[in-house]
């Protein structure tokens, strides 16, 4: 197995394009190394992207926030300004693994592992994140949800890799939140995840809302009906009940060792409501 650690995006793209499917992008390695050790994959080459400056930065511009793909959970957790702008996104990334894992695991790795249960993904979708994708034909951006195809697979062309995630600076009275259900208190994988972002009107009603769910379908997905239910409304019991029903209706889960269809469908509604309450409260304060 070859190990390469290019210092530029171009070099990384060239290595990946030349190696084809046998190459894997290597950031924190908290998924990749385990998969190699357990003989689930046998990559011919690892392309370590941590020496590429653009993947390691968090840039907070006036209108745009850019989070490098190989920024770790611990680093995001220490970024007070980012945490203030997108507490839900940061909390989601910080739920991954243990403290030790947080020092290695990256936001890009969590996304690119393409697990339907990845914690960062519903939070990124809810906050309207776009991925910056570099490839042999240059750089493109895509809504993160549009890159998700199925478990373990993203819509990236040969030679493409994710450099960073872009988020628009949130308007006034915006808040986000992410909650997940696990049977333990930590060190586990989401049985259900719910990310929410809301923006409120000056009168306290909902101006914009995005609700995304994880671990309840082959990929994380948006609750499409959420804006219809929420826009112009206050957060009362009836609205919450409608949101819960819409969240449950969005689920297409499976029975597996982590949960049942019935349980996931039911708890998705519960978590969507709990997450929106937190996001709403944050929006009111912002």
């Amino acid at each position: 197995m070859r190990y390469e650690a290019p210092e530029t995006i171009e070099a990384a793209v060239a290595l990946l394009a030349a190696a084809g499917k046998t190459a894997r992008v290597f950031a924190g390695g908290t998924d990749l190394i385990i998969q190699i050790k357990e003989e689930m994959i046998e990559p011919g080459m690892l392309v370590d992207i941590k020496k590429i400056k653009e993947t390691r930065e968090v840039i907070l511009d006036d209108d745009e926030i850019r989070i490098g793909a190989s920024v770790t959970g611990a680093e995001l957790g220490e970024n007070k300004e980012l945490k203030k702008l997108f507490p839900g996104v940061v909390e989601a990334v910080q739920l991954i693994g243990s403290d030790q894992v947080q020092g290695r695991a990256t936001i890009g790795g969590n996304f690119c592992n393409a697990s339907p249960a990845a914690d960062s993904v519903p939070a990124l979708i809810a906050s309207g994140a776009k991925a910056v994708v570099a490839g042999p034909n240059g750089t493109r951006t895509a809504a993160v949800e549009d890159l998700l195809i199925k478990p373990g697979q993203l819509s990236l062309a040969p030679g493409e890799l994710i450099i960073s995630f872009c988020l628009s600076r949130p308007p006034k009275n915006t808040g986000d939140a992410y909650l997940r259900f696990i049977p333990r208190s930590e060190m586990d994988i989401a049985v259900v995840g719910a990310g929410v972002s809301v923006t409120l009107n000056p009168d306290g009603t909902c101006a914009a809302a995005r609700v995304a769910l994880g671990a309840v379908a082959p990929t994380a997905r948006l609750v499409e009906q959420a804006p219809d239910i929420l826009l112009g409304k206050e957060l009362d019991e009836r609205v919450l009940a409608e949101l819960a029903a819409a969240a449950s209706a969005t689920c297409q889960p499976i029975n597996d060792k982590r949960g049942t269809i019935k349980f996931r469908t039911s708890v998705a509604g519960v978590l969507a409501c709990r997450a929106i309450k937190i996001a709403w409260e944050r929006a009111e304060k912002n």
């Binding site: 049977p183 208190s185 060190m187 060792k257 349980f263 708890v267």
Partner: protein, 756 residues
């Protein structure tokens, strides 16, 4: 909060003090050598090929391609492991049938579970070994499989062993069965008892097998020399037992095998057995090189023993005044692929905390297509106890009597008997129950969605064979060698007892775990026996040293030995004109005045006696998700005499935590082909640290009259009532009975939604 409530004398120098553990520094610095920390020059790497099927006939095994791979030095299959005839009755409580063991370490006619060892290779690198096992071609004929003990016991179930006919039933059956034996015990007249009852409660329970969950996987090195001698380094709870099993299995002289126990990263009963040891011996014999075999975590789950999953039915009757007059229970224990689930202990565990005039318990030892069960911390007790304790709590509810008062009324007394007929000596049950009743936790208020559970656990301890050698060195320090791997702080406790006897500073005593070539037979570090039995051998050995030191002082002083006493670490005499001789002075004289001084003791310790652990648990259940959070947990237990209170409390807390996992989330998940799906701690959900509150303890000390310091076993009792106590708390939080463990969130939510 931790408390000690004692009725015993307290003027000890070391016993009962919180001392620094002698093995601590090496463990925190990483210097301690565990199973896989040993390397030897010329070492080969062993790897095991395991069955991908739950139940299949082995039609052929072709190892030629693996043998041809460069770097592969040997391949073994069942042909390399000697066969043995089936064990004949009578069967003891712990069945060690070489016929079964030889087939469990290497499948012979059939594979009986997903993960069953089929072949093994030794190669010059781990990578080559892994590649080699993939080149072994095994032809299987897949057979129908059965995982559930109740289903396996029914006629028409797929049969694991055609030669097995149920023992303990009359007339002797004509058809083979997965039920190896039926064991029961009874007293009184059940029919009359139930006729006298004003209230009868009946319940059913199910539980999944649970793994011991030790952090350190099985790991060993075996070296066979050309003259037939074998040395083994392995992580085990009993290296003498490993020596015996390997010698008998491999038809070798016991004296030609020397086993050294590594440090051990947990066992809980799961490291009482041989798995890869005989295979590694054979690989080493074939290659004349050391062979190291280390299991991966998934191999630990697929190939080593869990505790039995169970199905049980129970019926108990009481009179209006709270007298329990009748009790009947039966339990089906999954034995796994081979007989030997802890049926006798299950029978004994249902009702032995109580003096119930009419009682009967029956247990079925049922083979299923899962790994063979191994001991797990009070084997056979927790599930039988849960059935009885939850039923008693329901009786209390219906009788409107406080659950502890109901137990007080029926509690077995000193001199009483367990259902299996074991006679109790002085027991601390009443003291434990009184402590519960007076504990602030028992009457503390609860918040909404919270529930409190309570259960009592009984465990009869073993004593058994222990040996110790104590050597006094020239400089006055003392080396204490035991044959028991230190799994729960035993070196520390041995040191405390030796220092107490000698009346010297703790730091002068150096405890070690010696290999099988160095000393007499010592049984497993298991059955909560080490501090009790091996501790007694330590005391005996040190007393022998003291006798020799008195004799030495008498010789030096030229006075009769009867005039010499041993006090506070010195030889003293009432006679005038003699200054006391310290341990150090005497040690320095010894070699010039007759020879080195040592003591040794080889005993079969009896009278370990029973102990009781009572537990109070508060949980909160999220009504929308079924998530259970532990709010408060108190363990109250009779330890006889806590030699090292820190470790006793650690045992009490550790047992409770394992019970929490058993009750709430731990389970084996199989697919429809009988293959295990959750092969690691991610999806086999043992509790993590943040899942549990700090567990409060109260050590009750009612000394055991059969030990010089009053020691009772403490390791097993705290797991006995724990799953029942937690399950009871969940039931009380949601106001619904739930008899099927684990009480995982989907199950709880399902139960809640059914009631809405």
């Amino acid at each position: 909060m931790n408390e000690v409530k004692t009725t015993a004398k307290t003027n000890f120098k070391w016993v009962g003090k919180r001392t620094r553990r002698p093995d601590g520094p090496d463990k925190v610095t990483g210097r301690a050598r565990y199973g896989d920390d040993m390397v030897m020059s010329g070492m080969l790497y062993g790897k095991t090929l395991r069955s991908p099927h739950a139940h299949a006939k082995i039609l052929s095994i072709d190892t030629s391609k693996a043998e041809a791979l460069k770097g592969v030095k040997a391949v073994v299959t069942h042909k390399d492991i000697p066969d043995h005839p089936l064990l004949e009755p009578p069967y003891g409580p712990m069945i060690a049938d070489l016929h079964d063991i030889s087939r469990n370490v290497m499948a012979r006619e059939k594979v009986l579970y997903d993960g069953h060892a089929v072949a093994a290779v030794a190669a010059t690198s781990e990578r080559i070994a892994k590649a080699a096992i993939k080149l072994i071609e095994v032809e299987y004929e897949i057979l129908p499989h059965v995982l559930d003990p109740l289903a396996a016991a029914q006629p028409g179930a797929p049969i694991l062993h055609e030669h097995q006919f149920t023992h303990g039933v009359d007339p002797k059956p004509e058809a083979p069965s997965n039920v190896f034996r039926v064991v029961s015990a009874e007293r009184g007249d059940l029919e009359k008892g139930f006729a006298d009852a004003d209230i009868i409660v009946e319940r059913e329970f199910r539980s999944e097998p649970v793994h011991q969950g030790y952090i350190e996987p099985q790991a060993l090195i075996a070296t066979a020399s050309e003259d037939g001698a074998v040395e083994i380094w392995t992580t085990t709870q009993g290296h003498f037992v490993i020596r015996g099993l390997c010698a008998r299995l491999m038809n070798m002289d016991m004296s030609s095998i020397r086993v050294t126990a590594s440090e051990i990263g947990g066992g809980f009963g799961g490291k009482n057995n041989v798995y890869a040891e005989p295979v590694a011996i054979r690989l080493s014999q074939k290659t004349s090189r050391p062979v190291r075999m280390v299991m991966t975590r998934s191999e630990v789950f697929r190939g080593t023993g869990p505790a039995s999953g169970t199905y049980s039915r129970i019926r108990m009757g009481a009179m209006r005044d709270g007298t329990i007059v009748a009790a009947e229970a039966e339990i089906y224990n999954q034995a796994g692929a081979f007989k030997g689930s802890p049926v006798g202990r299950s029978v004994d565990s249902f009702f032995s905390s109580y003096s119930i005039a009419n009682a009967k318990a029956t247990a079925y030892d049922v083979c299923v297509n899962r790994p063979k069960v191994a001991a797990y911390r009070a084997p056979g007790a927790p599930m039988a106890t849960m059935a009885a304790e939850l039923t008693i709590n329901e009786l209390a509810e219906k009788l409107d009597i406080d659950p502890v008062d109901l137990r007080m009324k029926n509690a077995v007394q000193d001199g009483g008997q367990s259902l299996n007929g074991a006679k109790y000596g002085r027991i601390g049950l009443t003291e434990v129950l009184e402590t519960v009743k007076n504990h602030p936790h028992y009457s503390a208020p609860l918040a909404p969605n919270q529930g409190r559970g309570f259960a009592l656990g009984y465990w009869m301890h073993g004593g058994g064979l222990s040996s110790v050698v104590a050597n006094l060195l020239d400089d006055g320090t003392v080396a204490i060698a035991t044959g028991n791997p230190d799994i729960g702080g035993s070196r520390s406790s041995m040191r405390v007892m030796a220092a107490e006897e000698l009346g010297v500073d703790l730091e002068l005593i150096k405890p070690i775990v010696a290999d099988t070539g160095s000393m007499g037979y010592s049984h497993l570090t298991a059955g909560s026996r080490t501090t009790f039995a091996t501790g007694m051998a330590v005391i005996n050995s040190v007393r022998e040293i003291i006798e020799k030191l008195r004799a030495l002082a008498a010789k030096k002083w030229e006075i009769p030995v009867d005039d010499v006493a041993w006090e506070a670490g010195q030889a003293v005499t009432q006679r005038d004109g003699f200054e006391a001789l310290t341990l150090k002075q005497l040690a320095g004289m010894a070699t010039k005045m007759g020879g080195a001084i040592a003591g040794h003791s080889e005993i079969n310790a009896g009278g370990a006696g029973a102990a009781f652990s009572a537990q109070i648990v508060d949980v909160e259940v999220d009504p929308e998700t079924g998530f259970v959070s532990l709010k408060r947990y108190t363990v109250i237990q009779d330890a006889g005499r806590a030699i090292s209170p820190d470790y006793v409390e650690g045992q009490m807390q550790g047992g409770a935590v394992q019970g929490i996992g058993w009750a709430l989330n731990e389970e084996y998940i199989y697919d429809d082909k009988g293959c295990l799906q959750n092969l690691g701690f991610l999806d086999y959900r043992m509790p993590v640290a943040s899942d549990v509150p700090m567990i409060d303890t109260v050590i009750v000390e009612v000394p055991n009259p059969n030990h010089p310091y009053g020691v009772r076993g403490v390791g097993e009792p705290p797991l006995v009532p724990a799953p029942g106590a937690v399950a009871n708390a969940v039931e009380n939080a949601i106001g619904k009975k739930m008899g099927s463990l684990p009480l995982s969130p989907p199950k709880i939510l399902g139960t809640l939604e059914l009631c809405r």
